[in-house]
């Protein structure tokens, strides 16, 4: 456990020094404060729009951090050869991987908390109120980041950051629209493409499940069963992805 934490701590430290992080945080802040401008257009709706856009930017910028830092997490260590003296230590390779993962999740936790703190303060400043559903929405966004980061880590131990980032990004986009894979026009029925898309439907995580933005913006509650189900769904997916990453990394030549 100490070994995993030592790696996690270093990953955290390194990510804190990553310029990408600050560029993304700056853009997130701009979009949160800029959301008021959209609120003016639709009079009386501004608090709702600020909430909606804050959650959207927390999600998008969290995902971007997860993808940009996550897909280079292992690759960078191989490329810079810092891995040589680490992998040759009496530790398991999966311990290293898990440490990297936890380190980045630490960063993402801080990023999420900071963005949520800023948007919550902004909403209150504008005279709005915050319901528990708002924070539940943030929790599910973080849960989605757990999954995206695990997927980025898997690709980081398989391929280069650029290719990895592209793949994760597309999976992310499709993950928000998995329904289209089943809802096919009739000429697809019985074709090979249909089978492939069906597999894709079950393989690609349904990220729409994690999205409570509309509910949060309108202050509508959701059932505890649903939330519990989504949390379990996210954890199961994440566990499988981490396991695959560990398997891919175990035998890898570095």
């Amino acid at each position: 456990m100490n070994r995993i934490l030592a790696v996690a701590k270093n990953t955290f430290r390194e990510a804190v020094r990553d310029k990408v992080l600050y560029v993304l945080l700056f853009l997130a802040a701009v979009s949160i404060f800029g959301s008021k401008a959209l609120g003016w257009i639709s009079i009386g709706q501004d608090i709702k729009i600020v909430k909606d856009i804050s959650l959207a930017s927390t999600s998008i910028f969290g995902v971007l951090v997860a993808i940009f830092i996550g897909t280079s997490l292992v690759y960078k260590e191989i490329d810079k050869r810092t891995l040589y003296t680490i992998i040759s230590q009496p530790m398991h390779r999966w311990e290293f991987l898990l440490g990297k993962y936890l380190g980045l999740m630490g960063i993402l936790a801080v990023v999420t908390v900071v963005m949520t703190g800023v948007s919550a303060a902004y909403v209150l400043l504008l005279g709005g109120s915050l319901e528990p559903i708002y924070f539940l929405a943030v929790l599910l966004i973080f849960w989605k980041l757990l999954l995206i980061t695990a997927f980025s880590l898997l690709l980081s131990s398989l391929t280069s950051p650029i290719l990895g980032a592209i793949i994760v990004f597309f999976v992310y986009l499709f993950g928000h629209a998995t329904g289209v894979f089943l809802d096919l026009p009739p000429q697809f029925h019985g074709t090979f493409a249909e089978k492939v898309l069906k597999v894709a439907y079950y393989a690609i995580p349904n990220l729409g499940n994690f999205d409570l933005r509309a509910e949060a913006a309108n202050g509508v509650a959701v059932s505890g069963v649903y939330v519990a189900w989504v949390l379990a769904y996210g954890l199961a997916y994440t566990a499988v992805l981490l396991l695959l990453a560990a398997l891919a990394f175990e035998e890898k030549d570095v």
């Binding site: 100490n2 810092t82 891995l83 040759s88 230590q89 009496p90 530790m91 030549d253 570095v254």
Partner: protein
């Protein structure tokens, strides 16, 4: 129990769209405990490949390797090995002290043990002055010292060093040489690769020579070179030109430098006759040197003819 045993170790690199590269071919090595073993070979011979397999960075495609009887793929074997890579890289934003602390943690050492390791290693490798500087700005020599310290964290009985002296200045090389000897005195086993023959000659008990992924020879240096001398050098002065001409006719090579005439003879007997002649001709004998074959001569001899081209350094 031997420190390192490899049996039929081989590595073929396969990458999609590229031809296969056989970097290592059925390597059988035995390094005894407390031995200093020099692993020689030209660029691309497969030294680093072997070392990376021993340190479980690469998975062999054939054969197996053991450190003190433990398969090198296991964690128990890694506990016994200290590794210094060819060009050690560490997290640039850490200081030497933080770096050693990090590796101590990876080894599962507690805070008190880690502090003790720092005291010992920072002294041994002269890291005190740079303890709080980030590695980012370090020179090659400073990095090598940090790398050596990292290899020594946890006091492993076997040290595997990949070209520990390459890229260092003469003082740096000497420091590393002294460290190797010091480690030998502490009863550690050392396995290191090099293509600098002089470095190996001075510290190794035994050497192995790798050519294109195959071990062509291993043994004690003096056995490989043989006890026999490779010739005699006669250094004389005060000879007239006719005497010099007469000696030149019998010798292998001749060089005149300042007042001294240097003649070399492959046959020691011819050297003796030449020495007598120098005295008979009224000259003065300054030196009579046995010429021993150096590891470099041996190395050149062992390379197949098609590989002699190219510069050894």
């Amino acid at each position: 129990m031997d420190a390192i045993v490899t049996r039929g170790l081989g590595k073929v690199f396969k990458e999609i769209g590229k031809p296969k590269v056989r970097s290592l071919d059925s390597l059988d090595l035995t390094i005894r405990k407390h031995e200093v073993f020099g692993f020689l070979g030209r660029n691309g011979a497969g030294k680093t490949t072997t070392i990376k397999i021993l340190c479980s960075l690469l998975k062999p495609t054939a054969g197996e390797a053991f450190a003190f009887g433990e398969n090198v793929r296991t964690r128990r074997a890694r506990r016994l090995i200290g590794y210094l890579p060819e060009q050690p890289y560490f997290y640039e934003y850490l200081t030497p002290r933080e770096t050693l602390d990090f590796y101590g943690q990876l080894q599962g050492l507690g805070p008190a043990e880690r502090a003790r390791e720092w005291d010992k290693l920072s002294e041994m490798l002269d890291l005190r002055d740079i303890a709080a500087q980030r590695i980012k700005g370090f020179s090659k020599g400073m990095r090598q010292r940090v790398g050596f310290a990292v290899a020594l964290v946890g006091d492993p009985p076997l040290l595997i060093l990949d070209e520990p002296m390459s890229g260092l200045d003469p003082i740096g090389r000497r420091n590393i040489r002294e460290l190797i000897l010091r480690m030998r005195d502490e009863n550690k086993t050392l396995f290191f690769s090099s293509h600098v023959l002089a470095d190996v000659e001075q510290v190794c008990d035994r050497v192995g020579i790798l050519v294109k992924g195959r071990l062509v020879r291993q043994g004690r240096i003096d056995e490989l070179l043989g006890k026999k001398t490779a010739g005699v050098e006669v250094v004389a002065t005060g000879l007239d030109t006719s005497a010099v001409a007469a000696l030149k006719a019998t010798c292998e090579s001749h060089r005149a430098l300042d007042e001294l005439e240097r003649f070399t003879f492959a046959d020691p007997e011819a050297g003796n006759r030449a020495a007598r002649m120098v005295l008979e001709q009224g000259g003065k004998l300054v030196e009579l040197n046995p010429l021993r074959e150096t590891l470099e001569d041996y190395f050149m001899r062992e390379q197949r003819p098609d590989e002699r081209t190219g510069v050894m350094s």
